[in-house]
C-alpha cells in the first residue's frame, strides 16, 4: 500500500525532517508512528498525500509513484486517502453535517449519495445527535470525531491520522480508537502518528519509531518506549 525508498526531506529553512526513510506497509495494516516531538512524524505522513513532497527518494501509494504525479493528478490521489489532521481543520461556519458533506461535495458526489454516506458515517462515529451543531459547540473529542468522520466518509483505502487522540482523556481516546479499529477491520489501512503510550501498549499494532528523521525501530506488536 505504501512504499518509501530512501526518502529524504529538507525544508527550505534547512531542517532535515526525513533522513533516508525506507519502509513498506501492506494493505490492511494498522501502523503507529511514534517518536519525540520534532522527530519528523508529521513530515513522514504529509509526504503520503503530497502536502509535502520529498527532496529525494521515491514514494509509492497503491502502486502510484508520487514523484511522477502531475499537479493535476494530486486531487485524485487525495480522494483515495482520508486524512485526520493534527489540528482537525474543520470549517467553523459549517455544521457537523456540512463539514462532513463538504468533503463529498468537493469531489462532486450526488446529493443522494452525500446524504446517505454522511448519515451513515455520523452514526459510526456516534455524532448523529449533533449533526446540526457547529464545531465551536463541540468538545475536543467530538471535533476530533467530526474530523475522523470526514476522513472516512469517502471510504478511502488508506486513512492517515496525525495525533487523533492528542489532548483527549483516556476514555475518549479509547472511543476514537474503537472507530479506527472498526474501519481497519473493514480492510482499511491505517497510519497513525501518536504520543499516546497507553493506547500503543494496550491495542497492539505495528510500531514505527521515528527519531531525527529516520526510522530507528520497526516492530510488529511493538511497544511505545523509546529513549529521550
Amino acid at each position: 500500500m505504501i512504499k518509501m525508498n530512501d526518502v529524504y526531506k529538507k525544508y527550505s529553512n534547512g531542517v532535515v525532517a526525513a533522513n533516508g526513510i525506507t519502509i513498506d506497509i501492506d494493505r490492511g495494516e494498522f501502523v503507529y508512528v511514534v517518536g519525540p516531538s520534532g522527530a519528523g512524524k508529521s513530515t513522514f505522513i504529509k509526504m503520503m498525500y503530497r502536502e509535502e513532497s520529498p527532496t529525494s527518494g521515491q514514494i509509492f501509494i497503491d502502486g502510484t509513484d508520487l514523484g511522477s504525479l502531475k499537479n493535476k493528478q494530486i486531487p485524485y490521489l487525495r480522494r483515495q486517502i482520508g486524512v485526520v489532521f493534527q489540528d482537525f481543520k474543520l470549517l467553523p461556519k459549517l455544521s457537523v453535517y456540512e463539514n462532513v458533506a463538504f468533503a463529498l461535495e468537493v469531489i462532486e458526489e450526488t446529493p443522494a449519495e452525500i446524504r446517505k454516506k454522511v448519515t451513515d458515517v455520523l452514526a459510526l462515529v456516534g455524532l448523529s445527535q449533533k449533526a446540526r451543531m457547529f464545531p465551536n459547540e463541540l468538545s475536543g473529542g467530538e471535533q476530533q470525531r467530526v474530523s475522523i468522520a470526514r476522513s472516512i466518509v469517502n471510504e478511502p483505502k488508506l486513512v492517515i491520522a496525525d495525533e487523533p487522540t492528542g489532548n483527549l482523556d483516556p476514555d475518549t481516546s479509547l472511543g476514537i480508537m474503537n472507530i479506527f479499529e472498526k474501519i481497519n477491520n473493514r480492510g482499511t489501512t491505517i497510519i497513525m502518528a501518536t504520543h499516546n503510550k497507553d493506547i500503543v501498549n494496550k491495542i497492539r499494532h505495528r510500531v514505527l519509531l521515528v527519531e531525527g528523521g529516520m526510522i530507528t525501530r520497526d516492530e510488529y506488536e511493538g511497544e511505545y518506549s523509546y529513549e529521550g
Binding site: 493535476k72 486531487p75 487525495r78 486524512v83 481543520k89 463538504f102 469531489i107
Partner: protein
C-alpha cells in the same frame, strides 16, 4: 462539469459577494472609476481618430500645369500622374474653371483676367494612403509640364504627428488605468480570500481540483466586473448622447464631425462591459493563485 456543481459554484459566488459586502463595494468602485475614465478616453480617442481620418482623406495635391502647355501635354501629364503607384484619383480642372474659382473667392474685379488667363490647367490628386502624399508630390514635381505642386507641405506631416502622438498617449493611459484597476481588485479580493484561505486549503486537502476551487472566484470576478461597469456604461451613454445632441448641429465643418451615437455608443458599452469582466476575472484569479499551492 456537472450542472449541479455549476449551481453550487453560482451560489458560492453570490454568497461571497454578500459576505464580503465592504470589499465587494470597494472592488466595484475601483472597476467603476477605472471604466469611467477609460470609457471617456475611448470616446475622445475614437472621435479624434474620426477627425484625423476626415482630415487625412481631405489631403490632396494640387498640380498646376504650365500655362504654356498644350491640351495634349496636360493630358499626357494627367496620364503619367494616374500611373504613379499609390495614386487613388486624379481630377482635371481646366484653367477657365480655375479662374472662375479664384474670381468667386476674391471678387468680380478679377474678371478682367478672363481676357488673358494667367493660370494653368490643374490636376487634383489624392493618394490612396494619405501618408504617401509628400512622396507622390515630389515625384510629380519632376515631370516636364508641372509648373507647381501644392499640398500643405509641413502642415500635413505635423497633423499626422499630433494624431499619432495623441493616439499613443491615450493608449498608454488606458493600459495604465486598466492595470491599476486590476491591481486594486486583485488586492481587494485577496483580502477577502485570506479569510477564506483555510477553506481553500481544506478543499484542496480533501481532494478538490484547482478548477473546482477557482470557478466560484471567477464567477465572483464576473459579477464584480458587471456591477462595476453599470455606472460607467450608463453615464457615458447618456453623456455622449447629450453632447452629440448639443454640439453636432454647431459642427457644420465637414472635418469636425462627432461619431453618430448609434452604434458607436453600443460598441463602447460592449467594450466597457468586456473590460470590466476581464479586470474582475483577472483580479480574482491573481488573488486565488497563491492559495492553490497546497
Amino acid at each position: 462539469m456537472k450542472a449541479r456543481t455549476l449551481g453550487r459554484h453560482f451560489r458560492e459566488s453570490f454568497k461571497s459577494l454578500g459576505r464580503n459586502g465592504w470589499m465587494t463595494f470597494a472592488s466595484i468602485s475601483a472597476v467603476a472609476v477605472t471604466l469611467l475614465l477609460v470609457g471617456s478616453f475611448i470616446v475622445m480617442m475614437m472621435n479624434l481618430n474620426k477627425m484625423a481620418d476626415n482630415i487625412e482623406n481631405d489631403v490632396e495635391i494640387k498640380v498646376v500645369a504650365d500655362a504654356a502647355a498644350s491640351d495634349a501635354a496636360v493630358k499626357e501629364l494627367q496620364e503619367k500622374v494616374e500611373s504613379i503607384d499609390g495614386v487613388a484619383s486624379v481630377e482635371y480642372a481646366s484653367r477657365e474653371e480655375e479662374l472662375d474659382k479664384v474670381i468667386k473667392q476674391y471678387g468680380k474685379e478679377l474678371a478682367l483676367y478672363k481676357q488673358s488667363n494667367p493660370l494653368g490647367d490643374a490636376l487634383y490628386v489624392k493618394a490612396a494612403d494619405p501618408h504617401n502624399t509628400a512622396e507622390i508630390a515630389k515625384e510629380i514635381d519632376t515631370y516636364e509640364y508641372t509648373a507647381e505642386v501644392v499640398y500643405g507641405a509641413g502642415k500635413v506631416e505635423k497633423l499626422f504627428n499630433v494624431v499619432k502622438i495623441s493616439r499613443n498617449v491615450g493608449l498608454i493611459l488606458i493600459l495604465a488605468l486598466l492595470f491599476t484597476a486590476m491591481f486594486l481588485i486583485s488586492n481587494t479580493i485577496r483580502l477577502t480570500i485570506i479569510a477564506r484561505g483555510r477553506e481553500i486549503e481544506i478543499m484542496k486537502l480533501v481532494g478538490a481540483t484547482n478548477s473546482f476551487v477557482r470557478i466560484p472566484f471567477i464567477l465572483e470576478g464576473i459579477w464584480l466586473g458587471i456591477l462595476g461597469s453599470i455606472i460607467p456604461i450608463t453615464a457615458i451613454s447618456i453623456a455622449y448622447q447629450q453632447i452629440y445632441a448639443y454640439w453636432q448641429p454647431k459642427l457644420v465643418n465637414e472635418m469636425f464631425q462627432l461619431l453618430k451615437p448609434m452604434p458607436f455608443i453600443l460598441q463602447v458599452d460592449g467594450l466597457l462591459l468586456f473590460m470590466g469582466v476581464f479586470i474582475g476575472v483577472w483580479g480574482s484569479l491573481m488573488s486565488v493563485r497563491k492559495f492553490l499551492k497546497v
